[in-house]
Symmetry: C2
Subunit: 211 residues, 2 copies
DNA sequence: TATATCATGTAATCGGTTACATGATTAA
DNA sequence: TTAATCATGTAACCGATTACATGATATA
């Protein structure tokens, strides 16, 4: 059995290049942290790896933008081969669905924590997820601003379209769907955290007062 | 900087041993797939690795249960050192929170999919998450049945208690909290999928009829 | 007859994280 | 003066996945 030539993270980078136009590794890292935060994370080192991988596959091409007093920007754009790969991926059934949540793990084994420690962790989680919710709401307001008009070089494929004004409505549809999901998820999480905190803090499991 | 001696997955195994009593690697794999499914997954090979790691740390001990015509069961139990480590972990701020969801990634870049392909993937996701919801509801009904009475050998620590009849109420509290979270999450996801499917399928993005 | 369950492990690989490395500009 | 931003990469490590390996019993 052969290993696949690409992984979800690969298509994350490829999709951003298709969707947002020519981008540098640095740009891509920022887009991962904002747009793809609800579904896939990536260190910058990994993004550079994926870019190298995709160049070897001829899914992307690179052009050097020279700059003074800064490292040159290496700007990547998707090729027709890359566009085909992206569409082909869309026809495969989705694989990975996984959650890794150390906070939930600690709640699960909350019987082995002091109530104080558990409550503290829950409250920190609440703050974190409230920030996340806030971010996602900000992002979804910014959606119409994310727009590239430089998508001239590589259009023409049947289903294939970069994000431009002509198809802004259609593209916004997916962006809005994702934003809606992210907000709904955080709301659910936050509501649960609040309930959990209320329960844990009103548990008389030790009666240890502390000024 | 030193690498940590243990990771969330390690505490997942340790917590199950503390909570459910002496268990084999095989038992642990099944408990991961049922109880810990909403927060952390593990292949069986990894569980065996963690057991070896924890034996080296003296967090667990092993006893061989001989069997005829089957491989011997190797049954692990937590030590006092392991109990201390578990409680100490509960006082650390939680680290990992990450979601990896290839379906969401495909929706995000849905502009590069045929509407048929996208709808198919969404419908498959709906089925999957409905099954998940059903499982979690089943599990939470089974909670009072998950009970070990063999936790005699290693009690006595201050906060430390295995899951027995005496503290069933307190332990059930955490189990119920997690079950409640898992159900709420799946409900949110399912509701979103239904909305997304409705939107995608009523999109006239090609008008390609197909009998 | 074939699949599922019980039961434990090793080997190979690689995705993903953390740390290392560099260095100018700009804002607090 | 310190920190953040811009900008790109390499090196080391390891957690996690997939495949390999074995073999009896029970169920469909």
């Amino acid at each position: 059995m052969e290993r696949p030539e690409a992984y979800p993270i690969t298509y994350g980078v490829l999709g951003l290049l298709a969707f947002m136009g020519p981008l540098s590794g640095y740009d891509l890292k920022h887009l991962f942290d904002s747009m793809l935060a609800p579904m896939w994370g990536a260190a910058h080192s990994q993004i550079y790896n994926e870019l190298r991988r995709m160049r070897e596959l001829d899914w992307v091409e690179m052009e050097r933008e020279e700059q003074e007093s800064r490292p040159d920007r290496k700007v990547y754009h998707i090729t027709q081969k890359g566009q085909k790969a992206l569409t082909a991926w869309q026809s495969q059934p989705p694989g990975v669905y996984q959650i890794r949540d150390e906070l939930l793990l600690k709640v699960m084994f909350g019987a082995f924590a002091s109530p104080d420690a558990l409550a503290k962790n829950l409250r920190a989680g609440l703050v974190e997820h409230e920030q996340r919710l806030h971010q996602y709401r900000m992002n979804s307001l910014l959606i119409p601003a994310h727009r590239t008009t430089q998508g001239e070089a590589y259009q023409g494929r049947s289903h294939f379209q970069p994000y431009t004004e002509e198809n802004a409505d259609e593209s916004d549809l997916f962006l809005n769907l994702i934003a809606h999901f992210a907000v709904a998820l955080e709301q659910t999480y936050i509501k649960w955290l609040q309930e959990a905190i209320a329960i844990i803090e009103h548990q008389p499991t030790g009666e240890q007062e502390q000024s």
